[in-house]
Symmetry: C2
Subunit: 420 residues, 2 copies
Amino acid sequence: MNDPAPLPAIDIDPDRLWSTLMASAEIGATPKGGLRRLTLTDEDRAMRDLFAAWARESAYELRVDRLGNMFVRRPGADPTAPPVLVGSHLDTQAKGGRFDGVLGVLSGLEILRALDDHGVTTERSIEVVNWTNEEGARFQPPMMCSLAFAGGESVEWALQRTDKAGVRFGEALEGIGYQGDTEVGGRQLDSYLELHIEQGPTLDQADVDVGIVTSGYAMRGMRIQVLGETAHVGPTPMHHRRNALVGAAYAAVAVNEIGWRYAPEDGKASAARIDVWPNLPGLLSDEAQLYIDFRHPDPQRLEHMADEVEAAVAESARKSRTEITVAERWGFGGLRFDEDLARLLFDRAGAMDLPVLEMASQAGHDAYHLSRVCPTIMIFTPCRGGITHNEREDVELSRTVPGVRLLLHAMLERAGYRSP
Amino acid sequence: MNDPAPLPAIDIDPDRLWSTLMASAEIGATPKGGLRRLTLTDEDRAMRDLFAAWARESAYELRVDRLGNMFVRRPGADPTAPPVLVGSHLDTQAKGGRFDGVLGVLSGLEILRALDDHGVTTERSIEVVNWTNEEGARFQPPMMCSLAFAGGESVEWALQRTDKAGVRFGEALEGIGYQGDTEVGGRQLDSYLELHIEQGPTLDQADVDVGIVTSGYAMRGMRIQVLGETAHVGPTPMHHRRNALVGAAYAAVAVNEIGWRYAPEDGKASAARIDVWPNLPGLLSDEAQLYIDFRHPDPQRLEHMADEVEAAVAESARKSRTEITVAERWGFGGLRFDEDLARLLFDRAGAMDLPVLEMASQAGHDAYHLSRVCPTIMIFTPCRGGITHNEREDVELSRTVPGVRLLLHAMLERAGYRSP
């Protein structure tokens, strides 16, 4: 490798970054120090308002599309050149942490501010995006608004999704006043870079501050439907029973045990949600649904896992005398991010003398969908103990800043830095 | 045994009984031919209004107590003598049948009408009761208003129970206008007789129309609480996981398998309801609750089942790396009904030339609580295929009438029949 080009003398302000993170951490704060900021709720609206206010303060342009995706733009010298996009999401899980997603959006904002501090002009515009409903904690599936942005599903499809209470996504979006009029997607982007906490323990345990994410684990999800028959819990003989709850429980146990069998090769399998009807103490239930999720670094081995899951589901039906069908299947990942962007990141890290790990993402990210429409890459920063989707999720600023600096320098290259 | 005393020439009107059953079957009817008449809902109110209207039509007295238990009284010659009480409940499961409980109340009403038809006077008053919330499908526990009537819990305790939506029992009772001013219990009863469909296949398969229920199976229930930790379904390594859903699933499977082990001796075990938080597709859950129910004809063997259930719960905690505690325990049954009343029923059945089976009840009934405060007995009639707590629950009138006739003749003896 050639010697890397020297770094421009531009830096972010770590304290300012932290202060925006802590301002965010007050909106939807939980007693245990986490966040509950479900998409399209009052808390989400309050956070969006704050993000918009920050954009206005710095005179950036703000566009909101028909799915509520927010784009904060710092114009470049050539307004017709496709912009560099960075960002992540500001919504959280029901019992989420303060950094998952938020760090990616507010790092982007901090970088725009740093460019202002140093009077930097870039050739391309830079946009910071807040994707709506990345978590999928209220409306399923997760990452649905970047999916629609990338043309994977229609806007109408997204607007019609409903939450557990039957509220339509479109209604909820109008309710918080963030249904914009910008069309969803359909425009050229130079690139998409997403910085995110790792959501696993690798960086923390290796004592390395930056992961360059060059690929994503293959993931499969399914919703199985179990049909049984209601009957009295008392007199009904065991051999007459068709308890849907028991069918789903057999499947949940089997899926968990498949996870353990693949654990040595870093596979995972989860029984992640169960719904049972009528679900009453005096009654055997006639319907249950179970959400299953499994992941593997090797797409071929994932196929083996899929076969085992299907066999376990059939066996669970037999043991419980119920009928089980796969009502829905989905999947993502199993992809490689852009090689040029990866090379750029390794090069800038070299110029910064920054130790990095090459990694594969195990979680889903909006970057997966963006990679369909433009060159895409991700940067991971450590989270303490790998604990995430948890109110105890935490980061250290000193171990976070190197990743944000790497993002800054990669973006400067990509956006066409002009020294002032 | 002596020759039985001859039967008075008094009979019920089977067609009239059927017409009241079918009028009830319209209130809360489901598309599949069952009933959804959850306690203290509009449907329950409508059924209560109809029952009250029938009482008024025949000029019976109606009293409603502070828990909504309804007592329809046909006065006897001696108004100070403790009355004979018959009845059951008019509420149903969420997906219930048309006869469970309803048959017991409307058989009582039919018997009062038959006494009117024949101009019969009884020494004691006869009362037909509709117990509030027998099913426990909306407020737990089941049979809570007969429990309070029998002094097993306070009225205040019952009024404070809440449903899944957080509505208090007391509010809901006021809401349908059935909070009466009669004190709950605290008065002398001569006896309590409850006629009920069997809720099991024994009578149907044996082709016998009447069961004399001399005892109740011992039953235990428990609610276990599983505590785990939320984490991302993707990157979290299997050996870091503490998924509460998986803990509850292990317990549900183990309980079901305990049921199978005791099935040859007629034991049963049920995983009957599961609740999980936050219960989302992207997240391992940190809390779950599972309702467990197990029953056995032999109280000593039930103790063995209880030991196995406790061991299975501990093993489920170990396998899922969760903490599981028993949050609540309850039980009923394991009792013998009154011997004099049993003898009376066998005697009257003999006089009627009616084949009967002596049986033990496997389901819970208000009669269990009443047996604490007065001599109590139950009569079972067949239900088709033993199917119950199910919209397909069904009976044949011709196989139901013999049990109602037996009830009539037993009540005449007990209430002090005076020929007109």
